[in-house]
Symmetry: C2
Subunit: 320 residues, 2 copies
């Protein structure tokens, strides 16, 4: 960073604004607990960020979720406050957030807010920060939301596609090429707190179960890079986390079994839930999977939303 360039950049950006779309994301992808994630083309949050002179963050919510507007209590806020500190308090940001990814859905709602905010702000600053810097800032939002600084939603939200977090300290993010994939999601309207979903996991596991899990994640990465749908399907197995977390999600086993019957390659809990995602190799199957999900949840009487979408390849995108 050269000081002169920064000052010129700030002067040029003052009072300008940018509007972005921040994609929803599916963390874990069944066998990649805490390390894999993928971005979705739908749903996505819309955010407008304006560069202001005063080194503060002002947040306006234009949705009905009643999220905090105090910057230190808002996931976008804490990420932008970190950016302001890195900019030595020479800038501030005014943010307008229209959430389309429901908070608590397990589709990376908090990640979209914090990642979207810093990508937009960085654009105003002529991309002074690297994608890795942005992930670091946005992870502060995840820490605020769930108590843990994790990147498995943040990384795909910023990079797009499927991402692997090899390591958090030091941060090591790898983009995994993948074939066309259709994603069907169902979001049953129940509350699963990320913290609780983490709390119920066993801290100790059997070595033999871990071996099976790392065989699956290694195979899934190979399958995605080889465009091998059959192997993707075989690798989408989680014998460690899903058996425990799925207890928190009504009708999980039935939805999963019936979606596989309907032709889905596989799927499971999106992040820590309650949403369930299923991958398909074509749109027709993905729509049949949606019909199946609707049938099961209509029967349970639980309110729900469904989405049929594809893997987002660009990450956060500028729309104005």
């Amino acid at each position: 960073m050269q000081l002169k360039t920064i000052e010129e950049t700030i002067a040029a950006a003052k009072d300008t604004s940018v509007t972005i779309k921040a994609p929803g994301t599916v963390a874990n992808m069944v066998c990649g607990f805490d390390v894999l994630g993928m971005a979705l083309n739908d749903p996505g949050d819309i955010m407008t960020v304006k560069l202001i002179e005063e080194p503060v963050v002002m947040i306006h919510n234009v949705d009905n979720y009643g999220l905090p507007t105090h910057p230190q209590k808002n996931v976008a806020g804490v990420a932008l406050l970190d950016m302001i500190e890195r900019m030595e308090h020479r800038v501030g940001f005014e943010v307008t957030i229209e959430k389309k990814i429901m908070p608590g859905s397990g589709i990376g709602s908090s990640a979209a807010s914090s990642a979207g905010a810093v990508v937009a702000a960085n654009h105003l600053l002529n991309n002074i920060f690297s994608n890795e810097d942005l992930v670091q800032m946005a992870m502060l939002g995840e820490k605020l939301a769930s108590g843990v600084k994790h990147a498995d939603n943040i990384a795909p939200c910023i990079y797009g596609g499927v991402t692997l977090i090899r390591s958090i300290h030091p941060l090591d993010i790898i983009s995994i090429p993948s074939p066309p994939l259709y994603v069907t999601l169902v979001h049953p309207q129940i509350e699963v707190r990320t913290e609780d979903a983490r709390q119920i996991l066993r801290k100790q596991i059997l070595l033999k179960d871990a071996i099976r899990q790392w065989g699956n994640i290694a195979a899934l990465v190979a399958a995605l890079m080889k465009n091998d749908y059959s192997l993707i399907s075989r690798s989408l197995e989680d014998i460690l986390i899903e058996p425990i977390r799925s207890i928190l999600i009504p009708a999980f086993a039935e939805v999963k079994a019936r979606c596989l019957e309907a032709g889905a390659l596989g799927g499971g809990i999106s992040g820590s839930g309650p949403s369930i995602f299923m991958l398909s190799s074509d749109e027709k199957t993905a729509r049949e999977v949606e019909t199946t999900m609707k049938e099961v949840y209509t029967y349970t009487g639980i309110e729900f939303y469904t989405y049929v979408t594809t893997v987002n390849r660009q990450g956060v995108t500028l729309i104005a």
Copy 2:
């Protein structure tokens, strides 16, 4: 299998023989315990298999290792006995084995014997069995040698290159493409029994350690398929098995540290040891790594052998 074809095949093959080279293999590849393996161009066993009428296995050793010649006590023997059973006792085999991979080296000596035998026999039978069938038969040799039916040496020995065993039941083997890699090995002349090396491992591990391990194996697979040497290097980390097993190998920590200083991408214990392998991106570095290994082990006073080789891409190959 059509009966007529089998009978014709047997008649045509009677009293013919084939000579093969069965490659040494490195199982685990640091972060892929029990699921990854790779084949080496050197060392490799030389075996001649002849098809005979009597449904028995006759074994001749033309080396000085004094391995059992009773077929039920010999790893090649039990694999061939299984093939004879699958052939409904209509054939038998006479096998001559010249071992170049020292038994107990940790470079897949038993796998080379059993895999080499069944690949050679299958060639005589006009490849009536699939590679997966052959892996199943050869795994019986591994069970005899170490008490566990594992495929992480057998699969690369038969398929060549780097292989991933996603699952043993059902068998699911995936070939992982890889860039040119040089392999330097040192085999210190101490005994580490595979059974003992397995016994000392903890049956329970921490979930957080497992997550780090599956981040590494996923990254290693991606790195191999992307020809990304820097990522290969970063991914060659094992926080679970190596800290325990390396205790059995004198000077392990020093060899590893000095080989990394010499420019190796990374490496660790070959299989369950005692051999240590290191990967390099070029031959010059691989030779410097060999010099380093020689220096360390000369100093310890332990007898040792070293090899500088490359990844074998063909698996078991016919040489006559």
